[in-house]
């Protein structure tokens, strides 16, 4: 899903490729890009399941406003992944209600 070459912007200034963990699996993303962008590039659509109806949610506004894309990041729930920069080794977990599902 990454744009390799863009007719107007050409290439995108990106941080180095780093590994991070998504629900225990190792994925790769670019350091400093939003966690949500790295997940989208890796094909992950579902960020959380809601409290009341258990519905899947993902990226919606992508600018930190709607809070739909929140996940458990390094143990903290409700982290807005669309504006939180990715760092190497981050633990990103699908959020169920307000916490990560117990494995």
């Amino acid at each position: 899903m990454r744009i390799k070459e863009h007719p107007i912007l050409h290439t995108f200034p990106k941080g180095v490729t780093v590994p991070f963990f998504f629900d225990g699996k190792t994925l790769e993303g670019c350091e400093g890009e939003p966690i949500a962008a790295a997940l989208r590039a890796a094909g992950v659509m579902v960020h959380r399941h809601t409290s009341r109806f258990g519905q899947p949610r993902g990226i919606f506004c992508a600018i930190g406003r709607c809070t739909d894309c929140v996940m458990v990041v390094d143990g903290k729930p409700n982290v807005r992944t669309c504006i939180t920069p990715l760092r190497a080794g981050m633990q990103v977990q699908t959020q169920y209600g307000v916490s990560a599902k117990e494995v």
Binding site: F53, F60, T67
Partner: protein, 106 residues
Amino acid sequence: MSKVVERSQDLGPCIPQNDDDLIICRCEEITKGEIRQAVHDGMYNLTEVKRYLRTGMGLCQGQTCSRLVRSIVAKELGISPAELELTSARSPARPIEMQTYSNEVW
């Protein structure tokens, strides 16, 4: 314009609609049907609906749903959405960790 609102007016029965189960407030997962019913329960403005159902009380504080809720409530009351005041805006503009909030610099 008079702001006087008689709360005992007859809105008629709350007839079920086929899209009543649509989620309107994404954060708190409040449905259209619940909002319509709240109006019939006497919640005639956005603040009362909010306090009654939690619409707009979630993590995003109504940034996504406030207009949607307003149009549903207005329609149920048979008035124009512009006649309904939005719920008040309050600090903090974004969710903020208590630790950060407690750490003040003057």
